[in-house]
Amino acid sequence: MAEYDRIEHDVLVIGAGGAGLRAAIEAANAGARVGLVCKSLLGKAHTVMAEGGAAAAMANVDDRDSWRVHFADTMRGGQYLNNWRMAELHAKEAPDRIRELEAWGALFDRTEDGRILQRNFGGHRYPRLAHVGDRTGLEMIRTLQDQAIHMAIDVHMEVTVVRLLMDGDRVAGALAYDREKGRFKLFASGAVVLATGGVGRAFSITSNSWEYTGDGHALAYDVGAELMDMEFVQFHPTGMVWPPSVKGILVTEGVRGEGGVLRNSQGKRFMFDDIPENYRNQTAESEEEGWRYTQGDKSARRPPELLTRDHVARCIQKEVREGRGSPHGGVYLDIAWIKERLPNAAEHIRKKLPSMYHQFKQLANIDITTTPMEVGPTTHYIMGGIRVDGDSQMSSVPGLFAAGECAAGLHGANRLGGNSLSDLLVFGRRAGEFAAKFAARGKGNPSAGDADEAVRLALAPFDRAGSAESPYAIQHELQQMMQKLVGIVRQESEMREALEKLRGLRARAKKVGVQGNREYNPGWHTALDLENLINVSEAIALAAIERKESRGGHFRDDYPEKDAQFAKFNLVVRKAADGSMHLERRPLAPMPSELQAIIEEQKA
């Protein structure tokens, strides 16, 4: 029998970004004894990098806003493939979740009359994002962290879960190792909440940190949970493109919200050339009108730079491909130009976008108050994830919950900027609440056989220390391959090639060997993450082949148009009895007429 410490909790939360922390707080509030596992140190999770803000229809800046408008914006942005119940709950509950953060000490930027200030963002009809300059994610995670440490929550830092443990058909715990010493831990719990974030590390150009290896997606898939909408990966339009070592680092949409514009090498604002029909009556007709919108003129419509991310990313890609890009393969994002309109523009930019100013100054030697930035698309977010019940966030496996980026549903085919931070709060809280309820009904007994096998598999790379297969090399090849073959513009032949290559990489990953011992060994950790990356990559490619149309974050060169018959279902992936990946079309649940009516009314 393998050696491990056994730790008991009522609710085990895996992942300590915004969703995991919010779930842990709620479960602890409900009286559950909570374990919170984080792959990094507490407070370092990817939420920390969120910049622009959290979307909530508080109507502090524009009183025409309401949950109905937010709901309709979210559905439109998601091309109506969203789980409408989640979109409804999200729009209704986000304002309370933001106010609650203020009660816990968060300090959002203020309006003139002292309330929480809200800013414009792509796809949102009215200024809706509560924010703190361009470091909103840091403010959120710190507020949640500082709240959580004074509660009955045991935090397990730098611990990585390698397998979920079952008791029959319900989840009963997880097997994990600690980074520092490489010791194994068996967590036994009545419920498990997955809040592990995304899959960005499956691509070479990404704004995501090393942690984003699809752990939650893969752990859930492994125990039979369904994954949904995996073809929908969001490529954020503006990542840094130069110098090479920072390629992919995010440049917040807030730059455009504050009046930043996109230009090609000829100095043209190309976004005016391609405005989708369903956004035409919400989009500015002239540069003048767009500028007035960013400055709070309620009679003006938003500039085309603030169209949805999928669209802006493809427009940038097109400029570059057709030879109108910047020297390093991007386009120009210019905020410096506002000096023509505003006194003290440089100071204004530094105040509104401090970390962008700092990031470009330090990493690229560029002063954004005087010089345009070079930007291009970067892998940012996955709309797809674990399929959950809209109210409780429980997956198709009893006792297994998911919230935040690793769950699917809220965002449909494309996520609006700002809807992710509010997603974390709304559904993190719900997952925590329902997980505590589920756990109160009793615990299972985690399968010892599965735990032993997980330990044996985890240690196997040490037995192959002399292997020629390096985990770093396989990870690198996978990232290059996914970027090239299943990236922002897709076609069938390339994705078939990707599936073939994934089979090869999977075989090689089984032979991977690592040097050294179990103490804080990044080679070993990289080796253990490989299977997760390969599984989520396969799910993305399979679903992307099946969706023979272009919609939201999914764009097919061989099917460049939207196709109405594909608007009727989500694609769902699960593990078949023989271990292969099974894909099916799942019809959308019919939307209640009152929600349908809101969508129609907001189209006007």
Binding site: A103, Q147, S245
Partner: protein, 250 residues
């Protein structure tokens, strides 16, 4: 492209030595890129803690050529060319392995600081009103990314090892953010004086110099806290008044 030699501290639990690695440096590379390249090329088990690689999470703190810095924000072209670059772990915390230290003490310290306690809401809907100018200074403190470089460089911790008595600059910034928060009603002044040993800080401003977020730790956080403590406990007029009233402040 140039080839640079890195002298990297390798070892476990405080025992170790500098080991030389050579790797190629291309335009725009930061020290963390070089560490990753070395991992992939020749030292697969080189322990490095990192996360966002964008200066926002504060994980990759280390001492580069003897200076406490974030590896992800230190560009190779700002270090002296044609000279070896030394990279070693933070020295104020227990060593784990290679460049990784055990910073858990910081998380324990934070738990002991009294949490935020807001006044009653200002509006019937349970919300508050605050002016932007009243929160500007607190927002400066809340920029902290908890990289703990200020703790690393503070001589009270680094040289005198007063970890049991002294909370360090990071947590003076944390307390300042709470004390100066317009809504907070808690009183942490006695804790600052007695339990947090604020008096040990002799304002050498080393912490301010290394802060990657450019928080003016000493001038804006520590000195105002010291003034508040002095006003509360050492003001002769207040002392006299208390003497006559025969009342002690809790």
């Amino acid at each position: 492209m140039t080839t640079t030699t890195f002298k990297i501290w390798r070892g476990s639990r405080g025992k170790g030595e500098f080991t030389d690695y050579k790797t190629d440096i291309t335009e725009g590379m930061v020290v963390l890129d070089a560490m990753h390249q070395i991992q992939a090329e020749s030292a697969g088990d080189l322990a490095v803690r990192w996360n966002c690689k964008a200066g926002k999470c504060g994980s990759c703190s280390a001492e580069i050529n003897g200076q406490p810095r974030l590896m992800c924000m230190t560009r190779m072209d700002e270090l002296p060319a044609n000279e070896p670059v030394s990279v070693e772990p933070m020295r104020a915390f227990p060593h784990v392995r290679d460049l990784v230290t055990d910073v858990s003490w910081n998380f324990e310290v934070k738990k002991k600081i009294k949490p935020f306690k807001p006044r009653k809401p200002d509006a019937p809907d349970g919300t508050w009103r605050m002016a932007q100018e009243d929160i500007d200074r607190v927002q400066e403190f809340r920029k902290c990314i908890e990289c703990f470089l200020c703790q690393d460089v503070c001589h009270v911790l680094r040289d005198h090892h007063k970890h049991d008595e002294f909370i360090g600059p990071r947590f003076f910034v944390h307390v300042a953010a709470l004390e100066m928060h317009p809504l907070d009603t808690e009183d942490r002044l006695r804790d600052l004086k007695d339990d947090n040993a604020l008096g040990y800080c002799n304002i050498t401003k080393c912490c301010t110099k290394v802060c990657p977020e450019h928080i003016t730790i000493t001038d804006n956080a520590i000195i105002p806290l010291k003034e508040r403590v002095v006003d509360e406990f050492y003001d002769p007029v207040v002392k006299l008044v208390r003497l006559f009233r025969g009342k002690k402040k809790a």
